[in-house]
Subunit: 238 residues, 2 copies
């Protein structure tokens, strides 16, 4: 298992969530382990956080990919959101110690955990800058969820997959330099299926036709977009 010391990549903290919301929370340039935050590693495909489980910490993903999901009593599950480095698990976790979803690692991940009480008090002392940032974060989470709702309710399988990919591509491009339209995408077809509400078999067929038609090619954890214009045209949402 990997080293559990504070991850070097957590300089990322200064861009994503922490930069925007916490503002002056992190001591600039400091690497010391404080008593209110720590880091840990979770291996690929292992659970990170269970639904309704109380936690005194809030979590930010520092490295790797994870996803939030809802598990239905009969075993079916819906992936709600893929977490990328820099992402806060959920904005509402700043104020609540229980969340309605579970989180699982997709790749091996590094997570930063911060004491909620500490984060809250730091936000309160600096709320004129923190409040709008938190509000924006909430608003964008709501908007993302409701747009996906529209995609699942109104769009065909192909459209949904196109929409999912476009959203992910946009987010990946924000944190990685993209060359030759190749996006790192460590998803199994089963994950795509659970995110867009199809079966893995059907996802395979749809990806097959998209490949045949020269629109995109997903293999070996890389999504290569061959015809961006056509991909966007497929996605009537957006």
């Amino acid at each position: 298992m990997k080293n559990v010391s504070p991850c070097a990549t957590c300089s990322r903290n200064s861009t994503g969530f922490c930069g925007a919301i916490l503002g002056s929370v992190k001591t600039a340039g400091s690497n010391e382990i404080s008593d209110w935050q720590h880091h840990f590693v979770v291996p690929a495909s292992k659970p990170v956080l269970a639904s309704q489980e109380a936690s005194p910490d809030i979590y930010v993903l520092c490295h790797g990919w994870a996803f939030r999901f809802l598990q239905l009593p009969d075993g079916r599950r819906q992936i709600l959101h893929f977490l990328l480095p820099g992402d806060l698990f959920s904005t509402s976790s700043i104020f609540q110690d229980r969340v309605h979803f579970s989180v699982k690692a997709l790749t091996t991940i590094q997570v930063s955990a911060m004491k909620r009480a500490e984060v809250q008090s730091r936000i309160m002392t600096n709320f004129t800058t923190a409040a709008p940032a938190i509000a924006r974060s909430c608003a964008s989470q709501i908007e993302a969820a409701e747009k996906m709702l529209a995609a699942l309710g109104q769009c065909s399988g192909e459209e949904r997959i196109a929409y999912l990919f476009l959203q992910l591509m946009r987010r990946i491009a924000e944190q990685t330099v993209i060359r030759e339209n190749r996006y790192p995408l460590p998803l199994r077809q089963q994950h795509i299926a659970e995110a867009v509400g199809l079966t893995a078999v059907h996802v395979s067929r749809i990806l097959g036709t998209l490949r045949e038609r020269g629109i995109l090619d997903l293999s070996n954890g890389v999504l290569e977009v061959l015809n961006m214009r056509e991909l966007q045209r497929l996605c009537s949402l957006n």
Copy 2:
């Protein structure tokens, strides 16, 4: 057209959004029209608010039913949420002047509009009580959207309708006394269809079987639940 004077029913303001979030904002017992809030009426099935339209006000539904929806470029639309009396259109509208959805009246409605700037400043002066309330409101909107996402992604038409009804019933019961398991529900089948991602024809068939099986009966704007236990069993979500 109905009278546009401040609606008597807006005593409701003290329970729903305003009571929880605004706290001391409303002058207790006062009926005067202030310069920072006003009321208006929208007839049934007329638009209230268009997506991306900037507004200096935030809105609370005082009377009647409305719904928030997303319109796709090709005309399809997804109903995101039904608004009941006391509901703030969207928590994020407190901080943003544009919203990603549109709103339409289902019945004739009365709406209370409040100047955002004024609401914000009152929240800021009282943020220790307002902030947690706003956070809870955001969290519950996110949770509702993501649970619906799971319903659309993983559940059959019948399950989705059962879920929609159970959610609505819970909310209706919070503000109305329910007798004989009869819930006022002023929805056309087309609205149900657009909320759960089915066609109106299919909704009609599903409602037909639910009626035949003695589970529920929706007609004349009233939902009568005949077998609550069975209805809950249908809804594997929840």
